[in-house]
Amino acid sequence: MRRNSHAGKALNGGFGAPLFTDDELEEIHLATLEVLENTGVFVEDPEAFEIFKEAGATVDPDKKIVKLPPYLVEEAIQSAPSKLFLAGRDPKNDVILESNRVGFTTFGEGVKVRDPYTGDLRPPTKQDVANAAKLADAMDEVDVYERAVGAHEVPQAVGQLHNAEASFNNTSKHVFMGPFDGYQLNKIVEMATAIAGSKEKLLERPLITFITCPVSPLKLVQDTCEVIMGAARSGMAVNILSMAMSGGSSPVTLAGTLVNHNAEVLSGIVLSQLTRKGAKVIYGSSTTAMDLRLATASVGSPECAMISGAVARLARYYALPSFVAGG
């Protein structure tokens, strides 16, 4: 029997569950624009406040409130890149982040370690940061290393520099970390520059992505502003990751929480793009539901999975790379 060739054949490279329609995403987007325009966000950092003001935002200096006209938000979404190149110290560990490419990472920052040998729950040390980095380096399916824990025995004012040192020295994969403030961010960039060989080489092969969290509801606090602006100026990417808790720091309805979450992340993206047009951002989430009976964050619940699913869809709606927390 002859089996002639197909004239063309569509190949399926994966699958996804259509949990939200485009119309529903648009409804969340429009509600977000309304919140950003009419209510605005609290901006603690004076320099960030001025950047918003100069770009045309309506500001209230007494209350430190910045209200964003929709065009500023839409322009920021447009100018943020859709595709990121994340370099590893070893080029074989380079990663591309875009659209619906799915990758895996460790998540941080854990404030305790379950000791694998004794079973004890104890504060993490710099050695634990190094061990976690080394373990992640060995795991085939872990694409990048976000420092899983933070060293507690080092001076906390420069704790992230110790964490960066332990991470860079123990994984050849791309490193994600929260620098906590602008000072430490700049120092970590210097460390990455030393590893890369020069500023130019670091821009060609960016070894680090920063992470920062707005404070729910709707606050870009000092450190968050410093990290967003510092990342934009350094040419490194920043993962703007909201951690709203539905019923606690955001509405009890999941739809309302998505609006709150979206407003926080988009306001951070606007600041990033106003600092340097085309700056690299990731649309992030560790938002979940709060169990109002126990006052705990129910990470791992079906509601957390649904929020993460919606966040991934929103990021694709905006053509931005995304990052969500797991269980």
Binding site: G16, I28, V252, G256, S301
Partner: protein, 477 residues
Amino acid sequence: MPPFYEMYTNEEIIKIYDAALEVLEKGGMEITHPRALEMLSGAGARVDASKKRVFFPRDMVEKCLAMAPEEFTCSGRTKEFDYQAGLNVDARIRTASGAIDRFDLYRDTTARLTCADIAEQAHISDALTNVGCVGSLTPSDAPNATYDIYSLRAIIENTRKNVWVLTSSSKNLAYQLKMLEAIFGDKKTMQGGRNQGSGIFCVISPLTIPDDEIERAFLYADYGLPVKVPITTLMGGNAPYTMAGILAQATAEFMGCTTILQTIKPGMPVWYYALFQSLDMSTGGVQYTSAELQALFAAVAQVSRHCKIPPTTTCTTSSSCQAQQTIFNLTQGTLFNTMLGVGEQGGSGLDGNNAYSPHSLILQNEIMDYAKRILRGCDISDATLGVDAICQVAMGKKEYVSAPHTLKHLRTEERFRSKLFNYIGSKQWFDNPTTLMQRTDAYLEKLKTTHEVPPLEAHVLKEIDDIVKAADKALIS
């Protein structure tokens, strides 16, 4: 309609479908049952008696596929326990079937199954909301010749759910169906759909139908039971090693069986049951759960949608009854199958389905609740988007815990309340450090001691016992 995953393109599904039709037309099936051969020949099949093969023309197969209903009701003892089989239905579990051991996942102990264990599975299944169908197990304390009759006796007394009536022979099946008839009063009622049962029609891979399967099919048809068609192809063993190849053979076997069943009784409800296994060529071991098998189940779900016939899959684990491995297998299988839109999935079988575990069944029920919660999504409307509430809190007029928006939606906005899983912090956990298996065991004990199944009427039970005695007398030599 809940959302569901699709992994394959329509072109790929049609290619599988066409390949299966080609297998049936060119290769046919081995069938020797005289009455079936006569009926199939009359319906348009080409019968080669010398080679014991029946070849099915494409149009005959497609006509028979069209006769099978897209959706149908599976009867419980009472209507309250009915569930729907179909392509867009609420997912249900079919409990472990055929197992010979009971494994206690919490205590790590095992023992041969008894009729009391079978009664236990039926009893807790009656209480678990996601269980649609109770599978038949294999008791060690019943006569070998009539164990299936004893198994059914233990099940129907202890559950109002639908029962998968597994049987060892058509002779035994006749007694089993009489037992169900005792509950419903007469065969006509059963033929009308109230029968608390579903049947099984097995093909021996590759493409062989034993004579007694045909006899059983006539009996199921006579009593009006819907029939599952389990395809037990072993990748690389009795079916091609390639995943596409197994789909071609399995779909051919399913379509061939459906053609036979529809020829026996047009309109007979059937499921495409993917009970595929994978042969690990490096060890010779048989895997019931693997990433490859899940990818095949996804294809079966899509082929079933193409054929407009309900699919059913399995979540049986290949692990050696080790709790953490079992939980992983149950979770990935149940989540994946539910999100594929599979209406009925088997489960709670361990050790390659040689063992049943009540803990596993309870866990699977809970995992399915979790998956269904995700598929229910969330309401996105002006009221739930809560723009005004966000503005109020952001401007410092309220905080969310006591905001009017929270109070208004607190009871209407769904939050998954798990009976077994928890999301407490480490401090709270150390105050009361129970493990998932401990909580599952405690829940099992609670069900066993508090859940009540209304007893069958005394005269019905007596009639059933008389049937069992008659079977013993006739079948034990």
